[in-house]
Amino acid sequence: MKNALRNPASYLMFIIPTIALYGLFFLYPMFSSVVYAFTNWNGLEETKFIGMANFETAFGDSNFRSAIINNMYFIVFSVGLQVPIIVLLALLISNVKRFKGFYKTTVFIPSILSTSVIGILWGFIYDPDIGPISAALKFFGIEPIYWLADSKWAMIALLLTNAWQWVGFFIVLILAAILAIPKDIDEAAAIDGANGTQRAWYLTIPLIKPIISVVVMLSIAGAMRVVDIVLVMTNGGPAGTTEVMASYMVNKAIKYGDYGYGMALSIIIFAFALVFTAIYQLTLGKTERIEY
């Protein structure tokens, strides 16, 4: 009687469009990136296999090396500075009785907006002539700072904007994990005389370690991927001080038509992302599954 669900024609009809699109837009580009990364393809000369030359060029280029370092800034900032703040704010929200929903809904807002619009918006806020930060500084008698045009400040300005966009998203992730912990554990500790800080430190944080580890990995992945905010706010400037790997790749490949080189760069970005995630998984991120 179940022939209808064993009909290969219907099965194929449901599967093929998805597989076709997936193959064309995921598998084929992935495959062609790997192949062309070893060629000098630039649309002008004859395409030749050139071995590791693209990779040597990339790591020999001081601009690319400084782009790698800038990606590291994103990692260090988002993991080292943002994650503790995220955990702290999530703990605070989970403990308040009133406005819990309001806090959750509000902090999440920036993560549903377009990064390009956020870039424009913050470009305005950083504006030295009429931006509100300058106005506030002027009130304290401080000269306006050219946030995005000064190589001392541009990177910090980007990191702060990026944090503004994503901290709330991670707060909500962690908050969900905290609220999923059964209440009686916390109550038992309270009866035993543990105060709020002790309960957070010895109870809640160990219990949410797996999700913190997810947040760290997502932060690393995000830091390796970061590009929109750079293109919109500084386009890598001033003088390359905010260039990241992906913006360097996009500019090289599209503006100069160095496709083979661009694909090699994309493989490098992918490799970096995999390596960092693996390192984290094997070291600090090692956690057993927790059963309540």
């Binding site: 064993r6 998805t18 009429i130 694909m263």
Partner: protein
């Protein structure tokens, strides 16, 4: 510490954070209603002297925000609809039809797509668009958007469909329904909540997408809001009130959606990121 202070301390910290999140929006809305830069720079934190709605008319018509807006809307909606339907069909075949081994394999391969960061494929997709002769056309965004959302959509919809009890479809098959009929009349209606969530997440992703839109489209009339807005900023560098109006136009639809469907949006976005 007195209990009352202990109770209000968290709220003070959290409210401070909420102010940091909301301040830029308030600032942009105020600025969009100010007449010019002078008024913004003289009193950046003040409420506008007179509500100057002319900016909205100017931005919408002269600065062609209307064009970007409709481009974003129709591309975002059409590609999200197609993506959801394809993913629903595939999820149905993978979870309900009796080709277990093939289905498992296909499912794993599709999920692999969630591991590949989008911008790793960027250059190769650019070349692909050239080869397909659709670079510079809306198709160059439509197809990558549709395809790009598939892994996440299949993941979420499959999880939902697995939970539908088998008795329902057995009865339907005895009544003589074919697999497509079963899908369209029984399973799809039951899956609507998941479809709505996936549709909204995909729509938001398309509406906000910047990288592909800025390099795959060059004609101004074909731009979407994120790229159009950047061009708009570069063109009107000196008129901040007008730029703020543009920001309001671009952010409002998202916030309205969010106001109505915050639970679905938060759940969908966080589920997609954690499982990937």
């Amino acid at each position: 510490m007195p209990a009352s202070i202990k109770k209000t301390m968290p709220h003070i910290v959290l409210m401070a954070y909420v102010v940091i999140i909301l301040f830029p929006f308030v600032f942009v809305v105020f600025s969009s209603l100010k007449e010019n830069n002078v008024e913004i720079s003289q009193a950046p934190f003040a409420f506008p002297k007179a509500l100057y709605f002319q900016n909205y008319v100017d931005a919408w018509v002269q600065a062609s925000i209307d064009v970007y807006f409709w481009n974003s809307a129709y591309l975002g909606i059409s590609s999200a609809v197609l993506g959801v339907l394809l993913a629903a069909g595939t999820s149905f075949a993978l979870t309900r039809m009796k080709f277990k081994f093939t289905s498992k394999l296909i499912y794993q391969v599709i999920l692999l797509g969630m591991l590949i960061p989008g911008n790793v494929l960027f250059i190769a997709q650019y070349i692909l668009m050239m080869d397909l002769h659709i670079l510079g056309k809306h198709w160059a965004l439509f197809w990558p958007y549709t395809a790009g959302a598939l892994p996440f959509s299949v993941l979420l919809i499959s999880a939902f469909m697995k939970a539908i009890p088998a008795e329902l479809e057995e009865a339907a098959i005895i009544d003589g329904l074919s697999a497509p009929g079963l899908f369209a009349r029984i399973v799809l209606p039951l899956t609507v909540p998941a479809l709505v969530t996936v549709f909204i997440i995909n729509f938001l992703g398309n509406w906000n997408e910047y990288l592909l839109a800025s390099f795959f489209i060059s004609k101004d009339a074909l731009r979407t809001l994120p790229t159009g807005m950047v061009g708009f900023r570069d063109a009107y560098q000196t008129n901040y009130a007008l730029i703020c109006t543009g920001i309001v136009f671009s952010v409002t639809p998202v916030l309205v959606l969010y106001a109505f469907l915050q639970e679905q949006i938060i759940e969908g976005i966080t589920a997609g990121s954690v499982k990937g």
